[in-house]
Amino acid sequence: MSPDEVVRTIIAPVGATHQAQRANLLQYLCQIQHQLNCIPAAAINQLAGALHISAAEVRGVIEFYAFLHEQPRGQYDILFSDNITDQMLGSRKLLAQLCKRLDTEPGIPREDLRVTIDTTSCTGICEQGPALLVNGLVVSRLDNSRIEQIADLIESEVDATEWPQAFFLVEDNIHRRDQLLSKQTADLTPDGSALRALLQHDATTLLETIEASGLQGRGGAGFSAGKKWRRSKQTEADCRYVVCNADEGEPGTFKDRVLLNSYADSMFEGMTLCAGIIHAQHGYLYLRGEYRYLLESLQQVLQRRRDNKLLGRNILGKQGFDFDIDIHLGAGAYICGEESSLIESLEGKRGIPRKRPPFPATDGYLHKPTVINNVETFMAAAKIAVLGADWFRSSGTADSPGTKLLSISGDCKRPGTYEYPFGVTIRQILDDCGAENTQAVQIAGAAGTTLPITETDHCIAFEDIATAGSFMVFNNDRDLFQIVQNFTHFFAHESCGLCTPCRVGGELLKDLVDKLVNGHATRHDIGEIETIGALMQTASHCGLGSTAPNPILDLLKHFPQLVEKKLAHSNYEPAFDLDAALQESRDITGRDDAGAHIESLP
């Protein structure tokens, strides 16, 4: 098919309203990118014409999302996951190895447009990494021999879908099951049971049950799910929406990957339950682009549910209980995990966080009342509808009822998904996953908390340390500076660019952390890091900016002796690095010996 035809097929179902078509812009772009490995100028103009928007607006959307490109990426678009856990497993060396084998450079398409090799933010395969994405498919457990095989497959032009199936194996790795994932719970709550409970009782009773359970949002913020549902239900509107946030982008989190893979029915059931309670007719699953490989199986689950009368018109035969779910893909933007950015993205726009209030519960998707919850929250709600509030409250603490799924990765013997009642101590978790010689734990991802091993009496709970699930373990051999550097770069890369403190402050912080890591930072620079960090925390527009300085500020707070050793012993050091300035010359001459450097750094 010619590019022109591809675009025409994609935007063909013209029956849709303009508003709906405009909201589909990102989905059209994802499809074009997937089929043509870029979005050509002609396609941009075609889309702009069809949707009655400017070509500049279409470009603005393309340039916002890391997975969309105007320039061709080539037959194979390869993205190495660049999370710290991937790096700890050797991802950067493997990337260099593949670049060398294929005679290309990171980030630059090879001249014959065969391949582009690049990095991307955490792909959520942390416990079976290092991982990469090839044309949207996940390759896990990379090692030297797998890289060699990949190089051969690319040189001999074997389509990625034809690569050995073992490459694409992604396991669930569930090592601890509790309330939510136990076999007993599954047996007691077969498919459709929550919806039958809804029809047996009524919406008001079920909403009261959800409220009584004390279920809090599992995405980390912990807002009461029942309150959110009630607020949406009470807002006057001609239609409402239910949205599941499966944009699991926090580095080190992968529990939604497991739920989407093996428990999608429960999640969809929770969404349908919510729809029945608040009277929503339509729902969306916002699936992060990194999990595109799950799209087909999720579509199959949806179809099966339609066939079984659990979705669609007159659900379970109940007149007027109509609800269906579409899946929308993200395209490489961490910020879209923030609920108001996610809504902007669902509407096909750049994922810029909205001003709040108003909150989505009253003014969300297309300015209609919208319930947005995490995958795990919807799943828990479905179980609560059948088994009751008391059952749910029998686990966890008084302030944090229920259980939490944790994604454990890094330096431990048994990385994977663990379900714990809230209130479990960090020490217990470390023991269970086989962590030894631990230096620090990063909880709740890059945006979370760095906890030294001396403080592991803390527990996982909304009243102590809240987390969406990320739990990364670092042993005594790890360089904490490298970890902080990884996180700080991540935030600078993922900043949406709207507000000054995050856009500029994040970039300044990145440069100062680099200076510190390279041994050139002075006491003055540490003061600047603290000032900029504090300003980002209080003055940023959204949570991304306000949590971005956490890693470096935690390092300064918990590990002052390490920082002291890293400082340059002068009061002033220039911001530019003389030796780094010679890199271009080294690249041109192909030299990297001691004589090609100004100084040898420790």
Partner: protein, 247 residues
């Protein structure tokens, strides 16, 4: 006015109407809260964060904070002014702001607000981005070096001119203003010097052509009185046009 409809701004009671933000009420009362991306004619944006204030112990942007009774707003403590100054310093190092040679110097809101906040140096490491100048339009030049991404031109073009000439592209530190035309040049767009978007830029990014440096230093907008008294550049655009030479 009743006690019900007031909040405290630096200890002074400010009256507000339903739906007001702290900024709306302050502007109406003639109380100055420094700002750059705000212009009462357009939807509040909350992006530059220069209007940062403390509201009952939390930092908020005054332009997006709904006014309410019981609010105690701190707009001028040393801490708030220091934070505001840091934000301004960030804007100065992000672009290329060469005040001594800039046509807008003395009539630039960024410069005036920086003086108001006591900023004496850019402090942070300059980014020195490479940005091109667009002189393709017969009446208006765009110097992207000075753009602070306030999106006032974007909003003016969308909300008043109904032309959608400007938009933002890129992400993070790579965010940048773009022009909607086949070549990406202003001269190729349907922009006109009479557009609202031509008269809202708080810095020297969107400049009229054919009248360089016609107002002497010492007689410019902020040369005699500070921004807290003079107000926004955009509010004086009509005076400037009135003074304009025949073209």
């Amino acid at each position: 006015m009743s006690d019900k409809n007031t909040f405290l701004l630096d200890g002074v009671a400010i009256a507000f109407n339903a739906g007001d933000t702290v900024m709306d009420a302050a502007l109406r009362a003639g109380a100055y809260i420094p700002h750059l991306c705000h212009n009462p004619e357009f939807t509040p944006h909350g992006s530059c964060r220069v209007c940062i204030v403390d509201v009952n112990g939390r930092r908020r942007s005054a332009c997006t904070q709904p006014a309410a009774t019981g609010l105690n707003v701190d707009n001028s403590s040393d801490d708030i002014v220091a934070e505001r100054r840091s934000l301004l310093q960030m804007l100065f190092v992000e672009g290329n702001h060469v005040c001594p040679g800039c046509e807008k110097s003395g009539a630039c809101q960024l410069q005036a607000v920086a003086y108001h906040a006591g900023m004496l140096s850019p402090r942070f490491t300059h980014f020195f981005p490479q940005r091109a100048v667009d002189a393709s339009h017969p009446d208006t030049a765009i110097d992207f070096n000075r753009c602070i991404l306030c999106e006032l031109c974007v909003r003016a073009s969308n909300e008043i001119d109904n032309k959608q000439v400007f938009t933002i592209s890129g992400r993070g530190i790579g965010s940048h203003l773009v022009i909607n035309s086949p070549s990406g040049k202003l001269g190729d767009s349907n922009f006109a010097a009479t557009d609202k978007a031509a008269h809202v830029c708080p810095v020297g990014a969107i400049l009229p052509k054919h009248r360089g440096y016609d107002q002497p230093i010492g007689e410019r907008l902020y040369d005699k009185q500070p921004v807290s008294i003079v107000g926004d550049v955009a509010a004086h655009e009509n005076d400037a046009q009135g003074d304009d030479h025949d073209r």
